[in-house]
Amino acid sequence: MNIHFMIDTFFVALSGVPVTLFVTAVALLIAIPAGFLLALSRVNEIPVIRQITMVYVSFVRGTPIIVQIFITYASVPLILTALFEKYGIQANIYDIHPIWYAFIVFSFSTTAILSEVFRSSLGTVDRGQLEAAQSVGLTSFQAFRRILIPQALVSALPNLATATVNLIKATSLGYAMSLQEITLKAKVAANAGYHYIEAYIDIFLVYLILCSLVEFAFKWYERRASRYKVHHA
């Protein structure tokens, strides 16, 4: 074991954290509203959208992310070029930074997972809350924004935390798309001297720290958001 290398590489791996967090943040920013809308479409049983949502969710939940990454990475450029050629659009899609593929893949998969999270959390809010809001003159939109969503959020938070932690871990597969994140950086550093054990330990440490912090932040926020609740023994 090469401790010196391990310490150096720990910081190399750490330098991949911003990319990881960036991808995570973008995926969440897209997936939270999109997942919420999909959840609403299933809850309210909107005909066609509901079926499409179900098929989509089962695909994303059912297939390994690495396979989704691969398919996206390989086929999106092929499809786009074909389209561009057909419509005579002058653009070089190969200049696209790999992070865009990461955005696509992780937004899609997180949206599917969050739609399920939100669906179950909306179910925990009593219908009476909506009725009470309407009876004091709030519109449905206002009722959702001010009363229902804040309450649904509380029961969604633990699952949201799990989804976020899983997303952060999943971005490590971004190495397959040359995404300069934690795992790839550590492994590149390891190559010169074949220091793979040290690299994996570094990767382990970085994720452990990162995910523990995220988990801690969610727990803190959950306590804050649920301060209106009484916890029974």
């Binding site: 009593d126 009476g128 009725e131 009470a132 009876s135 004091v136 003159g137 209106y228 609740k229």
Partner: protein, 251 residues
């Protein structure tokens, strides 16, 4: 003030309201009595569009609406004219007592925040909760929650308040508390439509009592008429079962 005609409502194959007519004047306190399942709650809910009626018209504070096909805008204006006090309170769990009361004023009525809080404070004080403004519903006793619910309705200063069994989930000591508050509001001239099992309240406060059964209004009249000289057999039967014997003696 409020006039309902030909209100019908079914759930699936079950017809719950079979043509209900109703008239309430300004400042009236009307009590609806009736056995469980007779459609009292459904009636209130249809008036406030929490359920869509299958048929029926309403005239609420000068506004004429079709209870079946009212537009979103009409629904909204009816709700602006009414307030609902729920049997199980339905306070906003994520808001404190005062926020519960202020919410409808600020977001629904667009009243400036400062003024809304002022109104909310007064309403809570009126129901005797001056010391609980900042408590979340989960930290309030049943009677206190019900009073916040009433304050929430009163603060809106609506043309009519609909009460759905506001005391049935309370223990006897708290019942007195809540009825006292309602008495006071009635005395101030607010129009009220109250579903309740509290005969005492009906007799003391109401100026009209409606007896419902099986989705229709069986009988209506002054409290003295209904309690003292009920005409219909069904009404007599119900009152016999519900009133404590001593009460009957004392009439």
């Amino acid at each position: 003030m409020l006039e309902i005609t030909g209100l019908r409502k079914s759930f699936g194959p079950l017809e719950i309201l079979k043509g209900v007519d109703l008239e309430i004047g300004k400042g009236d306190v009307v009590v609806i009595l009736g056995p469980s399942g007779s459609g009292k709650t459904t009636l209130l809910r249809c008036i406030n569009f929490l359920e869509r009626a299958d048929e029926g018209n309403a005239q609420i504070g000068g506004l004429q609406v079709d209870l079946r096909s009212a537009s979103k805008k009409e629904v909204h204006s009816v709700r602006q004219k009414t307030a609902f006090v729920f049997q199980n309170y339905n306070l906003f769990n994520n808001k404190t007592a005062i926020e519960n009361v202020a919410e409808g004023l600020i977001t629904g009525r667009k009243i400036p925040k400062k003024k809304a809080w002022e109104t909310a404070r007064k309403a809570l004080d009126k129901v005797g909760l001056s010391d609980k403004h900042d408590a979340f519903p989960s930290r309030l006793s049943g009677g206190q929650q019900q009073r916040v619910g009433i304050a929430r309705a009163v603060a809106l200063n609506p043309e009519i308040i609909l009460f759905d069994e506001p005391t049935s989930a309370l223990d006897p000591e708290l019942v007195g508390e809540v009825l006292g508050v309602m008495r006071q509001i009635a005395a101030e001239g607010t129009t009220m439509l109250v579903v309740t099992h509290e005969m005492q309240f009906a007799r003391d406060v109401a100026n009209k009592v409606i007896f419902m059964d099986g989705g229709v209004v069986v009988e209506s009249g002054t409290p003295d008429e209904i309690f003292g000289r009920p005409k219909e057999e069904r009404t007599k039967q119900f009152l016999r079962r519900v009133l404590p014997e001593e009460y009957n003696y004392s009439i």
